[in-house]
Amino acid sequence: MQLKPGTRIKSAVCATEMMVIQAPAGDADVRCGGAPMIGISDPKPERAIDPNLKAGSQIGKRYVDAAGTLELLCTKPGEGTLALGSAPLVLKEAKPLPASD
């Protein structure tokens, strides 16, 4: 699937919805719960989540691949594990800042 910043995608097997913040050039094999993610308005196939890929996602959090080429923002949480190919994406925390008081 070709991804561009701003593209909205969803899981084929759970409630997860993501917005693309940054994407690698060319085709990206973004998966959730073991199944390739699909366009936001695509019909959902009849397919079950891989029970071993249920790490889940949290709304408002960002997820990245190890190389930092793909960054997704979770706009709706779900139970599937996010992955680029077979490599799970990791939660990207905002840079910590101390209190300003």
């Binding site: 408002g60 706009t75 910590p96 209190a99």
Partner: protein, 352 residues
């Protein structure tokens, strides 16, 4: 160290000198007025009785007085009771605060005498930002806040405060994000700390607000507080933990919920309850609609700590209630009830 650094209101202070309008206009013409009304070299407050006078001053004197009022290095307070002098109408808008009775004047003066440096900075900041955009106003507020963080009044407050107790950090986000279709609810979720606004809560709220900024399919954002109190203001346990005032300014310039709230404001509704303090007043005031529970009250406590409101309140409150009422809230530190807040338009509706 100025004569300023006292948080005690027990020691008697001199009675607030109140000038007649004619005398005030005369005084404002003199070149030494800046020395005479300064927290360092004279009176920390310029109080004027706007009634009783019948003469109409010369136009030129009035113009000079109006300009001097805007530049005065201490807060100016107009006492407007009974029939006002003809010239009072022409000058009233330039005062930093307007009060309706002598006791109310003393309430304002209590705040000014206890923290004259913060009171001066507050008055100057509100005058300055009345001509600024929201973004410019937030920068100005943060700069003034940083200045006062390095000052003696804040140091005195910090030294007198009991040491914060270490508390375990709960294992859940400080802001809970709930989404149903195009509607997002952001819940401040530290009810055990009356939703005190900590760095952790700042970061979590910014995350939730940033989501709504990025995702245009979110049509409505509702900001709420879990528990009996919407938000009790900055987390006092964190006060004084800033790296240094310059870095603290950089932090506020980098990550500030007020900026995101303003960007989203047409989509944001806020529901508030209980004692809304500091950030608990300042942040909701950015929302396009604020609904208050009947038990809600509102106050700005920062002057009592030698500071000014620092969560965007010097920008958001004047846009709702005007500069003079914002100054009144900040200088007195007094709480207003929900009916007053509604009549001032600090909130838009009262609902169970």
């Amino acid at each position: 160290m100025g004569p300023a650094a006292s948080t005690s209101r027990i020691s008697p202070r001199p009675a607030t000198p109140v000038l007649s309008l004619a005398r005030a206009i005369e005084r404002l013409q003199t070149p030494d007025v800046f020395e005479a009304y300064s927290p360092l070299t004279g009176e920390p407050i310029f109080a004027v009785d706007l009634g009783a006078e019948t003469r109409w001053p010369e136009e030129i004197a009035l113009a000079v007085a109006r300009e001097a009022l805007c530049e005065l290095p201490c807060p100016s307070v107009g006492l407007a009771q009974g029939l006002l002098a003809p010239a009072a109408e022409a000058l009233m808008g330039e005062f930093d605060a307007v009060v309706a009775s002598p006791p109310e004047l003393e309430l304002v003066a209590d705040g000014v005498f206890a923290h004259p440096l913060a009171a001066q900075a507050l008055a100057q900041l509100l005058r300055l930002s009345s001509g600024c955009s929201v973004h410019e106003g937030l920068v100005a507020e943060s700069l003034v806040y940083a200045t006062l963080q390095a000052g003696p009044e804040f140091a005195t407050w910090l030294a007198a405060r009991p040491d914060p107790k270490p508390r375990p950090r709960p294992d859940r986000p400080a802001v809970r994000i709930e989404r149903v279709e195009g509607r997002v609810e952001l819940w401040l979720d530290r009810p055990e700390k009356r939703n005190a606004f900590s760095a952790e809560m700042r970061d979590a709220l910014c995350e939730g607000l940033a989501l709504a900024v990025m995702d245009a399919s979110i049509e409505r954002v509702s900001l709420r507080g879990e528990g009996p109190v919407f938000c009790s203001g900055g987390d006092l346990d964190e006060f004084g933990t800033l790296p240094d005032p310059a870095t603290a300014h950089a932090i506020r310039s980098t990550r500030h919920p007020a900026r995101l709230l303003h960007a989203l404001s047409p989509r944001v509704e806020c529901v508030v309850q209980g004692s809304c303090v500091g950030a608990g007043v300042e942040l909701p005031a950015f929302a396009t609609r604020v609904v208050a529970r009947p038990d809600a009250s509102f106050r700005l406590p920062e002057l009592g700590m030698g500071l000014v409101p620092g969560a965007g309140g010097t920008v958001s409150l004047p846009r709702r209630i005007g500069r003079q009422r914002t100054a009144w809230l900040a200088l007195t530190g007094a709480a207003i009830d929900v009916e007053t807040a509604l009549s001032w338009r600090l909130v838009d509706a009262i609902a169970e």
